[in-house]
Amino acid sequence: MKPPGTARGRALRSAIGALLVAITGASPAAQDGPEADRERMVNFFSERFPGVPLQDYVYGAMIVSADARAQYEQIMEFPPFLGDLDAGRRMWEKPFRNGRTFADCFPDGGRNVAGNHPYYDATLDKVVTFEMALNRCLEDNGEPPMRYGEREPMGVLSAYARTLSDGMPMNVQVQSEKARAKYEAGKDIYFRRMGQLNAACAGCHMHLAGRIMRMEVISPTLGHATHWPIFRAGEELMTFQGRFNRCMEQMRAAPFGYNSEQWNNLEYFLSYLSNGLPLKASVFRK
């Protein structure tokens, strides 16, 4: 395993790894690799939040507040963003100039595919996110690609396209050595301290998960990747990578930006940790 990064980053990461081992009591042997990381994360949170079923982590910070969860359920019965999903469906179904549609680019017409993303593409030597796959579909059919991070068309289209995979368990694969390198690069970002506040993603979303900061409950790492994009207050569409950017700003660090290699690798890492949890696209969040 050769994680990129500075000696300091590696030292920090192994220190947190050691801390995790200490917390979970797992032996350091047979401890290497994505699946071991995922199991360690599951153990970490099952000790932090005893009695919370694994499947419930898709609700994020709402696992600690029955009240917030009840409000969420009520809003999701009749969510305010149905109009946006309809707009996304029209984009998804609108034929390209050559007569094909988005559905032709994906197996089974795009049903139950989002959970296989991001994946490592050996020919590109890159992690391919679901949003990148949508853009590749456009380019393969001679259409101009969409800009990442815009509400329309990319955000609204992905909001609908991901609903086609609702209920599918997250199923991200890290198989080759090179894929592993991308995964480790994402993991490095997650545990690395950055910005003026000298904070790491893991600092808040593992060790302070469920606690309150800036009047909001901090969500746990587990299940972070299952429910994007979100409609904040039912209105503001935020993608997974948009959330990364916002977190970075709050850490007073310069965000890496939409579709940057860093964010794609981080998405790869976090999505792997959510493996087995059911996808639920386009949800309400505060």
């Binding site: 019965e77 009749f78 305010p80 109009g83 309809d86 209105e235």
Partner: protein, 107 residues
């Protein structure tokens, strides 16, 4: 341009819970277009009527303070299955919207 109204009705005894989500920009007239810098003209729903079997059960006079894509939810007594719930609105430009649905059986 038609603006859809999404409606859900639930019957519990003789009480119908009516929920509706109305697509409408509800412009305050104070917002500026980010590209041109011009003010976006005032555009809001002025009157809204919900009727149960032809009889008005809710009338509202709205202004530009109501948010985009307004949502209403209320309960009305004296409803029974198969009654028709209809919603009508008219905005300050004279555009109109209408939708109706039947009250489903209790359950």
């Amino acid at each position: 341009m038609t603006r859809p109204i999404r409606m859900r009705v639930r019957l519990d005894g003789d009480v119908a819970e009516i929920r509706a989500l109305i697509d409408h920009p509800m412009e305050t007239g104070l917002r500026k277009d980010s590209k041109t810098g011009e003010l976006v003209p005032l555009h809001f729903i002025r009157n809204l009527t919900v009727s149960l079997d032809g009889k008005p059960v809710l009338e509202a006079q709205w202004g530009q303070a109501i948010a985009r894509n307004p949502y209403i939810q209320f309960r009305v007594r004296g409803a029974k299955a198969d009654d028709e719930v209809s919603i009508e609105w008219v905005d300050n430009r004279g555009e109109r919207g209408h939708a109706s649905t039947k009250v489903p059986p209790a359950g």
